[in-house]
């Protein structure tokens, strides 16, 4: 008898209408039918021969094709006489050596950056994400990087408006001077006065659009990530808000700068104190498995959640908003994507958040 063993680094996530196979070693995910899922479940309980026996002649061929598919993609291997029980399941526990993984700052005044720098003496922050409402000179961009020199901050990404001084020497000079900036996004960029050079220390993106911080929360295939850390985190914690801290334009400290609840102001309290405040972490443990509609979605562990903008339809017994993210246009029951902003069912929530409704 032959037995099929699924590799523990392959995760099959069942959705309402199909499954997602995520390969945690090759960092790719692919969509497959529910039939394939049912087969893999069957192969956990029965030998290959017994599984094939259950089907009529026409289906047998399809079953064999499925098994070939699983083997060709190295999603599993065959053992003889029994499953090979020396292969243990992967633990999906998530344990990371940081206090804050990312701080999302809506920047106007640089004094906030110095306050964050001071906080880093006691708490480790890995990444800093800055959305600037105003234009930044080359000196200011370099200063942002310089403030965090020699700290345990691993990287900085900056969103700021484009301005016409941003030419090649501006960009390459910044690349030479900066150390921690790994991503620079220029918005309001209607003419390009720089060439996109591949030898920069950071990735450079630009868009014509006027981006405001309220644009955040988009759910789209391009924002899906398949990797160990991502999946371990989203299986255990909220995939956006866990170990996140936000500071809005007024200096209010929040879990995310776009959420209403705030826990003091950077001017009169410390990040350390805020982390201990009741309610600050209330969304940290809310996983996609407990969010309406998302819990039936095959993308739930590779997608990043949003609690700032939701459809506002569900609430759990602790008063947490468990509604689907507003800016997701995917329907796991039909397996189809559509434009979220024109969905009439979302109009009420869009009005609540003051979003413009296009008809």
């Amino acid at each position: 008898m032959k037995y099929f063993n699924l590799f523990s680094s392959v995760l099959i996530t069942k959705g309402a209408s199909r499954v997602l196979i995520s390969d945690l070693e090759r960092n790719v995910s692919e969509l497959q039918s529910l039939d394939l899922y049912n087969l893999t479940e069957d192969l956990k309980l029965n030998s290959i021969e017994d599984v094939i026996k259950e089907y009529d002649r026409d289906s047998k061929e399809i079953i064999n094709e499925y098994i070939d598919f699983l083997l060709e993609n190295e999603y599993g291997f065959i053992s003889h006489n029994d499953w090979d029980n020396s292969f243990n399941p992967l633990s999906f526990d998530y344990d990371s050596a940081d206090v804050i993984n990312n701080l999302f700052l809506e920047l106007d005044n640089f004094s906030v950056l110095h306050k964050i720098r001071c906080a880093m003496d006691t708490i480790d922050i890995r990444y800093l994400v800055i959305y600037s409402i105003r234009q930044l000179s080359k000196e200011e961009l370099e200063e942002i990087d310089f403030i965090f020199e020699n700290t345990s901050l691993e990287g900085i990404e900056i969103y700021c408006p484009y301005h016409d001084q941003m030419n090649d020497s501006f960009i390459s000079g910044l690349s030479d001077q900066s150390q921690r900036i790994y991503k620079l996004v220029l918005y309001n960029c209607d003419n390009i006065t720089f060439s996109t050079n591949e030898n920069l220390k950071f990735s450079l993106e630009y868009t014509k659009d006027h981006i405001t911080i309220k644009n955040c929360g988009i759910v789209d295939l391009k924002y899906f990530n398949t990797n160990n850390t991502k999946i371990f985190e989203s299986k255990n914690y909220n995939s956006c808000l866990f170990k996140k801290i936000g500071i809005d334009i007024e200096g209010n400290i929040k879990n995310c700068p776009l959420m209403p609840d705030h826990f003091g102001n950077i001017g009169n309290t410390s990040l350390e104190k805020v982390l201990e405040m009741a309610g600050f972490k209330k969304y940290w443990n809310l996983t996609k498995d407990h969010i309406a509609i998302c819990k039936d979605c095959e993308f739930r562990y590779i997608c990043t959640d949003c609690r700032a903008f939701t459809e506002k339809t569900h609430q759990n017994k602790d008063g947490l908003d468990t509604s689907k993210p507003l800016k997701c246009g995917y329907d796991p029951y039909t397996g189809e994507w559509s434009e979220w902003s024109t969905n009439p069912l979302k109009e009420k929530a869009m009005k609540y958040y003051d979003f413009k409704i296009d008809k």
Partner: protein, 61 residues
């Protein structure tokens, strides 16, 4: 794969030197070039690796 090492030496070398491989590939060299190191006083190192984050922290575009 012939290499210049064996012909340069006057003394004999073990046989496995005949099977010397090139270390790395163009691809790994390119990947290495992209690794940035930063100094970190707290961890007492001049070589903290700047790792690209595992997910998109914001989704504004």
């Amino acid at each position: 794969m012939e290499n210049k090492i064996r012909s340069e030496e006057r003394n004999k070398l073990p046989l496995n030197f005949k099977y010397l491989n090139k270390l790395g590939s163009k691809k790994s060299k390119e990947l290495n070039k992209k690794i940035c190191y930063v100094k970190c006083e707290k961890f007492q190192t001049d070589f903290m690796t700047r790792v690209t984050p595992f997910k998109a922290f914001t989704r504004m575009l």
